[in-house]
């Protein structure tokens, strides 16, 4: 692990590429979706060439999102099991968020907040895809009963909202945790960062190389 100058590889290039591809697609899906979410956001449809183009593109962007996210999720699946250390971490979550000094439990590669985010996105992207199919005019919507379409359109909006809030939290948490973004852009983090935030993972990584 410890390559020159004490950096640890956190995310290999394939994961980084996959993550940023999902991120770009997510932004496109969000901006195009918000245009239909509330009139206050309709101006965003101008970014996609107007209302009809936004309506045409959004569902296809969603399908790309589903595929790209599924690839990322299958890569990260194994790191997202909740452990006892995670539960201890959760008890200290408030102190951690307020930057109080805490003895960090021996958590692995991800903390429980990240694991919840993973589960939320997994569930919501699934719901967004299924409800998105039901309301997709003119290809699929006519195949479903009007009440199912009504329900799907509401569920799609709510799932979209939850997803966007989850991503706002994700972006902020990454920014707030100094050194984390480097892990996803350059792929490496400092040993000090790993030890501070993920002691269990740090120990595992140091064991492997010594």
């Amino acid at each position: 692990m410890n390559n020159k100058s004490g950096f640890i590889l956190r995310h290999p290039p394939q994961v980084r590429a996959n993550h940023w591809f999902v991120a770009i697609v997510f932004i496109l899906a969000t901006l195009s979706g918000l245009a239909f979410f509330h009139p206050a956001f309709f101006f965003l449809s101008n970014l996609f060439g107007g209302g009809p183009w936004t309506k045409i593109l959004h569902p296809f962007v969603g399908v790309v999102m589903l595929v790209a996210f599924s690839m990322l999720a299958s890569r990260e699946w194994k790191y997202n099991r909740v452990t006892d250390a995670d539960r201890q971490w959760q008890k200290k979550a408030m102190d951690i968020m307020l930057n109080h000094p805490v003895k960090m439990p021996d958590i692995g590669r991800y903390n429980i907040g990240q694991k919840y985010l993973f589960r939320t996105l997994l569930g919501m992207i699934g719901i967004l895809f299924l409800t998105g199919i039901v309301i997709w005019q003119p290809y699929f919507a006519p195949m479903f009963s009007i009440n199912l379409v009504r329900l799907a359109v509401v569920a799609h909006g709510i799932a979209g909202f939850i997803t966007i809030v989850a991503i706002i939290v994700h972006i902020y948490a990454a920014y707030w945790t100094r050194g984390a973004i480097r892990g996803m852009t350059r792929g490496t983090v400092t040993a000090a960062w790993a030890k501070h935030h993920y002691p269990g993972w740090y120990k595992e990584m140091s064991k492997g190389s010594k």
Partner: protein
């Protein structure tokens, strides 16, 4: 009919008031089902005035032709043979099409600004140039009226001949109806007209004759005189008490404004957290054991 320009009362996906200084008379079309002979002249007149030609369909073994509304058929006659209480067979023929609700579910559901407008005279009109083809209006309509065109992915329905009315003409269907079953005028006049006709029908043994102007959608600007107003469902499933779907009301009225604020709050919370608590930094000397 008074000549009137079409002032806009409401626009879809618009949160500020529409121009509302001028006022015009509320209009209505009154369809007296007890006078309808099912000749379909109204369908032909609608096609002719609006220059729409539907695909030639196939015979379904019933009089309904075309079988359903479509982007190219904005009104259809629906024929139902009904056995009434006294064992009498009645042929109930209903001219189906947009009801021009005072509280239009399509307009409420539409996310595209100005794609659906409600004129002050009560006409609900689709402005196809603003339509994105999302089909939300279809989910909003309690009468199952709007139809998405497979050709251009825009939604179409009866305009109540808003273009004719703007110049003081009556709708094409009303103009052509040979029995006078379709009448047009101010909503007030039409209600008075209906009352006279209903009294007539009652005298002739239709005790439950009445006006169909459902309150669940704030009343409509297309009204029916029904021989059996107590059972509107006899008329090819006309809704007894049409309402906007609670899902649509929740979605557009509550969930979306609330969630829009929620997104703002989420971003603001992040900023406030950062400026009050500060970043979460790992000390570089922590690795020293």
């Amino acid at each position: 009919m008074v000549q009137q320009s079409l002032n806009i009362e409401r626009r879809s996906a618009t949160t500020t008031p529409s121009p509302g200084v001028r006022h015009s008379v509320e209009v209505a079309k009154l369809i007296d089902i007890s006078k309808c002979i099912g000749c379909k002249a109204c369908q032909a007149a609608c096609m002719e005035w609006n220059d729409i030609r539907d695909e030639i369909g196939t015979c379904k073994g019933v009089y309904d032709n075309p079988a359903d509304l479509s982007a190219g058929s904005w009104t259809v006659m629906r024929f139902s043979e009904v056995e009434t209480d006294n064992g009498k067979l009645e042929w109930l023929i209903r001219k189906d099409g947009c009801m021009h609700c005072a509280d239009p579910g399509c307009l409420k559901a539409c996310p595209a600004p100005g794609a659906i407008v409600q004129h002050e005279n009560g006409i609900v009109d689709f402005q196809q140039e603003n339509c994105t083809g999302c089909g939300y209006c279809i989910t909003g309509c309690p009468f199952n009226i709007p139809r998405l065109s497979p050709k251009d992915h825009k939604v179409y329905k009866c305009t109540l001949c808003s273009d004719r009315i703007a110049t003081g003409l009556e709708p094409a269907c009303a103009k052509t109806c040979p029995t006078g079953a379709i009448m047009f005028g101010s909503k007030k006049e039409m209600i008075t007209q209906a009352e006279g006709r209903i009294a007539d029908l009652k005298e002739r043994g239709y005790q439950n004759a009445g006006l169909y102007d459902p309150k669940g959608v704030g009343g409509t600007h297309v009204m029916y005189v029904l021989q059996h107003a107590d059972k509107p469902e006899l008329y090819s499933g006309l809704a007894k008490d049409p309402q906007l779907s609670p899902l649509v009301i929740f979605w557009k009225g509550i969930a979306k404004p609330l969630m829009s604020y929620g997104l703002g709050v989420a971003v603001l919370t992040g900023i406030m957290h950062y400026v009050t608590v500060g970043p979460n930094e790992a000390e570089e000397d922590e690795t020293e054991k």
